[in-house]
Symmetry: C2
DNA sequence: CGGGTATTGACCGAATCGGTCGATGAGAAT
DNA sequence: ATTCTCATCGACCGATTCGGTCAATACCCG
């Protein structure tokens, strides 16, 4: 990716976004270099000029995504926040920060997880194994779940919120720019609703 | 699809499921007939023997899915049930009945909605337009939303449940048979949780 | 104007595409 | 046993698309 470095930033973004999008929606094999070039707004020859081969492009993108996620986590993760909803709000903020920079990163990473093409599968497995550490850091352990009313299972609440947030994201139209504030607002509303009805009275502000 | 009719039922299912899965995960253009044949467990020549052309196959599947959904709706929809949660439970039961018969139907139908290949796009548009009636019937209007506590927005609750159910479904491993009872149990749990905390006391027996 | 260098259209052999067809073989009927 | 039927498939077709290359052009800076 070094050859990309001295391009205008918006062009870089356009190219990586197009490539990420193509790979995440079509998988490694079915995402042709022509597709990628079209999605990136450049000619096919330029893709090879910038990245060498299709495989190198894929692996470069892998590293690229990882760097951005790691950076966002290190920037925003705070283990001192223990309140259940605040923790989830923080995790969502991290996701959203990543998403705002490159909307296709998260779907690329999750598609990577299911990628099976023998040309890249071993590298992916090695990569996933090597970033196990990050997952441990992100694991939402050490949360304070004592404020819930009886009969409310924190894990269920977490699942509800995770799925709701996935729904918001996948609902975003692919064409338009992402609107982080609107998303945060909608998500906060749901969190507040659950908090108000699932926390014991004494913990409502 | 007439040629399929006198095959053993499990073979029919295997073939349609494979084709539905290929199209829904790869789209019309990128789902090659070889892919479909492999996913269906038959030779490529048989695909053409059964369906004529790739396009006919796609359109046949479209009708096939529609028939099953219509049948499930007519069988299970009851407009007399007005309670919010019961309505949602009913809609989920319909979805689940469809899913249990052919796990790829719903994802095929939703992928259809985004299909843009000029070879099938006009037929899809016509089809969608012609089945508008069904959507009106399914629209969850006429629900009783008076039992909610103040400050609880029924639309938000519905969104939570819809997304939660989507989460359950997409979480199912693609390889194994679907377990409707386990899904219903998990979903009922969440519905009960929300009902217990969002309905006014007087409606909780 | 000259000299890089960023960018591309045209092209390569190989692979894959949608689709065809003759060979094979199991089963039913005679 | 023999013929007929027909489901099934491997091998093949011409056409397209694949990943990748390269000579030529467009463009920028001095």
């Amino acid at each position: 990716m070094e050859k990309l470095a001295h391009l205008p930033a918006d062009k870089q973004k356009q190219i990586t976004d197009g490539a990420l999008l193509s790979f995440s929606t079509n998988g490694y094999k079915k995402a042709s270099v022509s597709d990628i070039a079209a999605a990136a707004g450049i000619s096919k020859a330029m893709v090879f000029h910038y990245f060498g081969t299709k495989k190198e492009l894929y692996l470069d993108l892998m590293q690229f995504c990882s760097d951005i996620v790691v950076e966002a986590v290190q920037e925003k993760f705070d283990p001192d926040i223990t309140d259940f909803f605040e923790r989830i709000r923080m995790a969502s903020a991290i996701k959203l920060a990543v998403l705002a920079r490159h909307r296709a990163i998260l779907s690329f990473l999750s598609s990577m997880f299911f990628e099976q093409d023998p040309e890249v599968e071993p590298e992916i497995k090695a990569f996933i194994a090597s970033s196990e550490g990050l997952r441990n850091q992100m694991a939402l352990e050490g949360m304070d779940v004592s404020k819930f009313k009886e009969g409310v299972d924190p894990q269920t609440v977490m699942k509800i919120l995770v799925r709701y947030s996935e729904g918001i994201v996948s609902e975003q139209p692919n064409s338009a720019a992402i609107d982080p504030e609107a998303i945060v607002r909608e998500f906060d509303e749901v969190m507040e609703l659950l908090r108000n009805h699932f926390y014991k009275e004494e913990y409502l502000h």
